[in-house]
Amino acid sequence: MTRFIVIRAAMLVAGLLVASILIFFTLRILPGDVALVIGGTQASPERIAAIRAQLGLDQPIVAQYLDWVGGLLRLDLGTSVVTGSSVSAQIAQKLAVTGPLALLSLLFGLVIALPLGFLSAVRRSRASGVAIAFGAQAAAAVPVVWAGLLLILLLSTALGLFPSQGFPLNGWADPWGALRSLILPALTIGIVEGAVLLRFVRSAVLSAQGQLHVTAAAARGLTRRQALLRHGLPNAGLSVVSVLGLQLAALIVGAVVVEQLFNLPGLGPMLVTDVGQRDLPKVQSVVFTITAIILVVGFLVDLVHRIVDPRLRAGTA
């Protein structure tokens, strides 16, 4: 067990290191730099050079990389060269929108996936089950942006239930307004993510159905459905949880796209603006933070899985 944790932790660290290298050097391929943006259309080459020196952009690229990673090791995400404020403070500000959005999407996704996935597995040979499975297949293939546009047309433009875009100016000080403006975007991600999850739930339940202990429970007098709910679901749940860990990345990427569509002041629009302005020190720290969250959650899920599942434990003992 200890050996497993050590190996898995080493993989996590290696993953973070590779991510930092990829993020840093890929961003350096973009044409133009932030000194030009700060200088604008009236700046002389001398002024651009002066700004570049001031920002440390004239340093060798490897030195810039080491400087950045050194900061990360001290948990210092650095300062935006454009806005001059700390990156962690700006991430925190934007997470007040993106965090609740991702959570709400997860909630919607689970509310859709769990009951429908279960139903479609139980009724797999009936029309309703086939319809659900087919619908999920279709919904999972829908691009998030398109789903969002359809929802705006239906629930906002036609029915006027929710605002089509925007976030209250005073944010969560207006909790109901803030929640209302998150519902449509969360539903957009939730439907697509839910459709993907639904298929995992269905397959997990289907295989649980075939297992001996479920059959045995049924033989003891429980109905098939009771047996499945009580004895099959824990098994199925475990696999769904590990998929959830993987889906976290999709959830965050979905949030970034959907925020653009709904004009929400979250991480997504901030990243787009920052890339446009070549605020690379900020972009790389934000992207790295998101990557780190995904990798760490993956690590935790693996760990929990290992601890919980007796068969896996036995394998490495």
Binding site: G32, G166, L169, S242, V301
Partner: protein
């Protein structure tokens, strides 16, 4: 079972019967692992949700504590001790400043909201373009045009309470003069000395006359900061103006509150909120229609009819020095041939752009706009004439010309690429539109000069000097223009400056180094209850000191 179609569930629970073949139907034996599994699932879900929720809660708390220190959304919290009415003016704008450093950050977005309102210079400029007193009550220019003596207004204080003295002026200007990265650094290139003979007097000496010097001082270059102040200029401001910088919610809004200790006439509104909509002009217009905004600048011309018949709103165009400039790469063939440049300029019908803008633009035949020194109507030069354009191209011996237009994607709503493609096709020129982000434009066009045609909005006022600078990105090099410009700047008589600039501008117009597509005159819409809103240069300077909102 048709598992083949399902995504493979990676968890072991999904795969067949347990390896040990343990008799799980025996309740007692089965309970242990089952319960363990159940607990584990709960732990896993809790772990993931907690990770997400923890982050979100932390963010919300961080945000809440931030806004607690900021302004209350209602103006009641900042009620004036003088008993002046507590009113909020909400102004919708498009371009948000990237940071608030008035010394180091270029661009009009921060000048637009900070000049006059938060920061002040020795002099300012009014809606007619006249230089007016600000921190200096009066000034005198020596006959040879090289020495400026300013008398400071008494009893001016900075937002932190410190009194203004001539030492602050000297310190600020010396700092800008010594900092190559400062935006206004070039303004001080010919400044020989900045001295303070006494507390209230500042003397600036130039090595030679500069006709634009006072005008420059009325802008960003003239801003006076407190000597020795240590505040972070990117996010805070310690100025002398009628408003204090209150809060900045990046990506959304900036708010100012009235300076209750202002040295001049106090502002008429107690709070100003600038809301930024970026390119989303629909959202901006909706906010105006919903009553969330008092003023919208600019209002997208295509959305204007909705407000024009409505008695609750007043709409109108505002003059500006913005010139949407189609620049030719003058150093590169075939643009080195005057006939090709003339042909392109004559192939373009400015009215097509003005039609797209619904009146939010006007024709411009030369490089200088109506409000600037040296303006004269040059619309007849290289006017729209497709027949003559075709003929000129034939004379120049170019046929089947294929050109690329590099244009920043921030101007998409103006449909410039489409209009130009159609118009140039009519004279046999095939245009490819390369839409890039602004930073790429700065790199490829502005810095590397790697382009055929380029369009950007040259918003800066008094920027004719770009045509007298052969190193500027369009590489226009005419010794006569350079000499006339130098003489105009060295003249001590404004009338002489005007005359010399006119001569230079006429030569430039005939040389056709660029086509001036239109002078942008943005529409501004305001509620009928708002008065005193500026009517000139609103996208580069919004003096809100005397704006009032009548109670409805």
């Amino acid at each position: 079972m048709s598992e083949g179609n399902e995504p493979g569930a990676p968890a072991p629970g999904a795969g067949g019967s347990p390896a040990g073949g343990r008799p799980e139907f025996e309740r007692k034996d089965g309970r242990g692992p089952r319960r363990g599994r159940g607990v584990g699932i709960v732990v896993a879900i809790v772990a993931i949700v907690a990770a997400l929720a923890g982050g979100a809660t932390w963010a919300i708390l961080a945000n809440a504590s931030r806004s607690a220190g900021g302004p209350a959304p209602q103006p009641g919290g900042t009620a004036a001790p003088t008993g002046a009415a507590a009113t909020t003016l909400t102004v919708g704008l498009s371009l948000e400043p990237t940071n608030l450093d008035i010394i180091g950050q270029s661009g009009v977005a921060l000048e637009q909201i900070l000049l006059d309102n938060v920061y002040q210079g020795l002099v300012s400029v009014d809606d007619d373009g006249t230089i007016v007193p600000s921190l200096a009550d009066s000034w005198r220019v020596s006959d040879d045009g090289t020495s400026y003596t300013f008398q400071l207004h008494p009893e001016v204080q900075f937002h932190d309470g410190a009194p203004l003295s001539s030492a602050d002026v000297v310190a600020t200007y010396e700092m800008v003069k010594g900092d190559k990265a400062a935006v206004a650094n070039p303004v001080f290139a010919d400044v020989e000395s900045i001295t303070a003979p006494d507390d209230r007097t500042v003397v600036i000496t130039l090595s030679h006359p500069d006709a634009d010097f006072l005008w420059n001082l009325a802008g960003r270059a003239g801003v006076v900061l407190e000597k020795g102040a240590k505040n972070d200029r990117a996010t805070t401001a310690n100025g002398t103006g009628p408003f204090l910088l209150e809060a900045w919610n990046q990506g959304s809004s900036i708010s100012l509150s009235r300076n209750e200790h202002y040295w001049g006439e106090a502002a008429k509104v107690s709070e100003v909120v600038f809301r930024y909509f970026g390119a989303d002009s629909n959202a901006a217009a909706n906010a105006l229609a919903d009553g969330d905004l008092d003023v919208l600048a600019p209002l997208d011309a295509t959305l204007a009819p909705r407000f024009q018949g409505d008695p609750r709103f007043v709409t109108g165009t505002t003059g500006s020095t913005d010139v949407f400039t189609l620049a030719y790469n003058n150093a590169k063939a075939p643009f080195t041939d005057l006939r090709v440049r003339e042909a392109l300029s004559r192939a373009i019908d400015q009215n097509a752009f003005i039609a797209v803008l619904n009146g939010g633009g006007q024709q411009l035949g030369g490089p200088i706009t109506e409000g600037e020194p040296g303006y004269e109507n040059l619309n007849s030069i290289n006017h729209y004439d497709p027949d003559s354009a075709r003929q000129l191209l034939q004379e120049a011996g170019v046929s089947g010309l294929q050109l690329t237009l590099t244009i920043p994607n921030i101007y998409e709503s103006f449909h410039i690429g489409d209009v130009l493609t159609t118009q140039l096709a009519a004279v046999g020129v095939k245009l490819t539109v390369n839409s890039v982000d602004f930073t790429t434009w700065l790199q490829d066009v502005y810095t590397n000069k790697d382009f055929d045609l380029s369009v950007v909005d040259h918003a800066e006022a008094h920027d004719f000097g770009n045509y007298a600078n052969p190193g500027y990105y369009w590489s226009y090099d005419n010794a006569q223009v350079q000499s006339l410009y130098a003489q105009a700047m060295a003249a001590t008589d404004p009338a002489k400056t005007d005359e010399l600039l006119q001569q230079a501008a006429r030569i430039v117009a005939n040389d056709a180094p660029a086509k001036w597509l239109f002078n942008y005159t943005p529409l501004v819409a305001r509620k009928a209850s708002v008065s005193g809103f500026p009517s000139y240069g609103v996208n580069s300077r919004l003096n809100l000191g005397q704006v009032a909102v009548a109670s409805e």
